[in-house]
Amino acid sequence: MAALADRELLIKVWETHPKALSPFVTVDHKKIGARYLVTAFLFFLAGGIEALVMRTQLALPENRLLDPETYNQLFSMHGTTMIFLFATPILSGFGNYVVPLMLGARDMAFPRLNAFTYWVFLFSGLFIYASFLIGSAPDGGWFAYTPLSGKAASPGPGLDFWALGLVLLGISTTAGALNFIVSILKVRAPGMSVDRLPLFIWNVLVTALAVIFALPALTLACLLLELDRNFGTHFFDPAAGGSALLWQHLFWFFGHPDVYIIFLPAVGIVSSVVPVFSRRPMVGHTFVALATVTTGVLSFGVWLHHMFATGLPPIALSFFGVVTTLIAVPAGVQIIAWITTMWSGRPVWRTPLMFAAGFIVLFLIGGLTGVMFAVVPFDQQITDSYFVVAHFHYVLFGGAVFPIFAGLYYWLPKMTGRLMNDRFGQVNFWLMFTGFNLTFMPMHIVGMLGMPRRVYTYPTGLGWDGTNLAETVGAFLLGVGILAFIANFLWSLKAGEPAGPNPWFANTLEWATSSPPEDYNFEVMPTVAGRDPLWDTHDELGRPILARPRALQRETLGTELLEAIPQNVLNMPQDTPLPFVLAFCLAVLFVGLLLQQIALCLLAGLASIVVVGAWLWPGKEAQA
């Protein structure tokens, strides 16, 4: 009877309060993670629709469906959306939902900060998309090269929406990364020493560290651009002693690590799925973890390969060429490890593994064309052609979106408690796999035939017509594949088979609790004695740590950095509207900056300071 009473107490302590205001006050990492997933997926659909409109324009040569301004806004927003508003946040969504569960914790280290990052992400997305309402979406590409993005060449407000929106989003991404780092280092299950960390956790950790080092370059670049545009500074203006190329260095110092910021967590999903469905532990676990770290480090030494055609001296070209070549090694390590895991196991062909295997094929192709770009003269000839568009879609769609779908099929049952239809899931996979290759494989050819990227139309007679039409057909097939996923998901909510705690016989701790998990995640805090806790045969899982809350206080376990030895009981915050209010104040501040309303900026800035004060004010949980 005592156990039941403990459970009721846990429910009472962890349920959202007040319930009526749940959307605005909750700090539960699962609710926040789910919101991230849904919001980012909606942005994915928006970016996908933008892509389909573009492909319709490009289906035929000299097509006049779109005027160039609309086309340029669409491709700029497609890139900005997919990179900033879909890929990074949806992986934050998985991270938010899964990481604390995988670590055996009851929440992230900073739950209120977690709520705050979601709201800032949402507001910055709406901020950038609001530009469509006045017909002036950003049109400088997702890379916004100066001086084209300067006031003289782009006088409209589109680039201001873009630059300010990304600075605002950067606050969210940075805060989220800090939260991941601290959570992974400090709230692990007892016994989850560094050598037993799940690979997904490794990937999230390296990603978060890369964010911390890379993002300041983008934020700085955007702020300098805003100063140039609105206050007459000349950072990027060569006529006044500035440098047009400075922007490219700052942008790609962020931009290349950002590729890995998107790619690494996706790879972490694959490293979760492959061993589970191969029914054996990951081959070369340590090497894969090391490869992840190596990738993160090397990703900071390759940014110049985006600038091979800018007229740099051969010595710089050689150095960045060789680092770009070397970054293929950790990728090769992982591919060999995944395939060997499948080879030596007994693969069970469920949808998540299909998407993971599809990923291996597509990422392999994208990785190999990536190595080709490290061959400098080839890069100088082929860069900025459609071959590049093919290459990075194989890396980012094949390398990140396919794992994201693997992750959705794998973890959504944990979140909803319902399984999706597996046979329909496989149809979903083949539609996407076929559609993807039909869209992007011909782009390699048309790029080699000399078709440059970012053109709203092209002349006939250069051998580009047939491939472009095929690409458009493929894009719509890919779109049908995405719709199939949505249908499967909605169907599963109504009629899906109940998932149970562990439908996949998986190895990590998120499967040790009910689907969906209770607000408090784990009734008793799990302990870990190996890399695959649910496959290990030891009986320590049930030790009643923190089974009974003290004094109606939310608690999780703080553990030591390397060995995950329990150190202290961490008091977790109550639900609060403050993160929402602070994010709102910041959004208003950025609207003020956009409209150049000093009074509004001052007001919102002051309000933000007051809210931060209230946030930090010592409450009763701090003394408990």
Partner: protein, 309 residues
């Protein structure tokens, strides 16, 4: 006409095309090997064994994940360095320098040492010898790319970039701006016309001369040209002091060019008429307004423009 990197017509593009086939072949071989392994991993017949096969992870990953890829990558990078060194400088000394200036959205072409030879969207070079190209930009970043002859080189304001071109045979090679430069990035192409050296010299001499004074209908065309405000942007040099703007291409020898509007329309009466009537329909956002001349004016203007050989 072609813009294909796989139809090289000069030593630089040829070297890169060979390199392209080589690394494409290597990449394809690696891809097939890995896909074969993946296929075996998927299709391998498994007995009734319960336990997964034991694998020496360190060995497999060390040999096939690190050692072998590293060897292939180093060889590939050797090819890269070799080609890079070979392409920095032209194979022989150059006699001629061409200056190409990027504008939103057309190319201005000049010949240093021949100050009166100014043309647009058409680079003439002698065939069979390398030519220096100096690149500069009047506004934003463009990229000079003639795939059949040479890899691209960005055209960056405030930076003096250079490249070189060599066409082995006489011919016309299409090129296009390869760096996104705003609204009409799609319509910013150019032609490189390689001619036998003596023919090129005659062309350069002709371009250096002023335009002949217009006669008859062409003379009326010149009045219409001035009255319509064309001189605000365009210059026609008849010798002596010729007024005119620098925003659009110099038209002194317009009739000698194959295309107009940076490769958008053929340079014939129909193309010219379409362009003059409504340049904003043909190339939305470009800096030439729609003129909508009356039919007689248009005929006079066409007579003028076609006289500028």
């Amino acid at each position: 006409m072609s813009q294909s990197t796989l139809a090289p017509a000069g030593p630089a593009a040829e070297r890169i095309a060979t390199l392209t086939w080589l690394i494409t072949g290597l990449a394809a071989a690696v891809m097939l090997a890995v896909l074969a392994y993946l296929a075996v991993a998927i299709l391998r017949r498994r007995g009734l064994e319960d336990e997964p096969r034991a694998v020496n992870g360190a060995f497999v990953v060390g040999v096939f994940g690190v050692g072998l890829p590293l060897a292939i990558l180093l060889v590939t990078f050797g090819f890269a360095l070799n080609a890079l060194a070979a392409l920095v400088y032209p194979p022989s000394a150059t006699r001629l320098t061409v200056e190409v200036i990027g504008h939103e959205w057309w190319w201005e072409v000049r010949y240093p040492g021949h100050e009166n030879a100014i043309t647009a969207n058409e680079v003439h070079i002698p065939s069979g010898e390398p030519v220096q190209v100096r690149l500069s930009s009047d506004d934003v970043i463009h990229s000079f790319w003639v795939p059949q002859l040479q890899a691209k080189m960005d055209v960056i304001p405030g930076r003096a970039n250079r490249t070189w071109l060599q066409a082995d045979q006489p011919g016309t090679y299409r090129g296009q701006c390869a760096e996104y430069c705003g609204l009409q990035h799609a319509h910013m192409s150019l032609l490189v016309v390689a001619e036998p050296p003596d023919q090129f010299e005659r062309w350069l001499a002709a371009q250096s001369r002023p335009a002949g004074p217009p006669q008859g209908q062409a003379a009326r065309g010149l009045q219409a040209f001035a009255a319509s405000g064309c001189l605000a942007c365009h210059t026609i040099r008849f010798g002596g002091d010729s007024p005119g703007g620098k925003i659009g291409p110099d038209l002194t020898h317009l009739a000698s060019r194959q295309m107009i509007a940076a490769g958008t329309l053929p340079n014939n009466p129909a193309g010219l008429a379409e362009w003059i009537a409504d340049a904003q329909f043909v190339k939305p956002g470009n800096k030439m307004p729609a003129m909508h001349p009356d039919p007689e004016q248009l005929r006079d203007l066409l007579a003028l423009l076609q006289s500028l050989s």
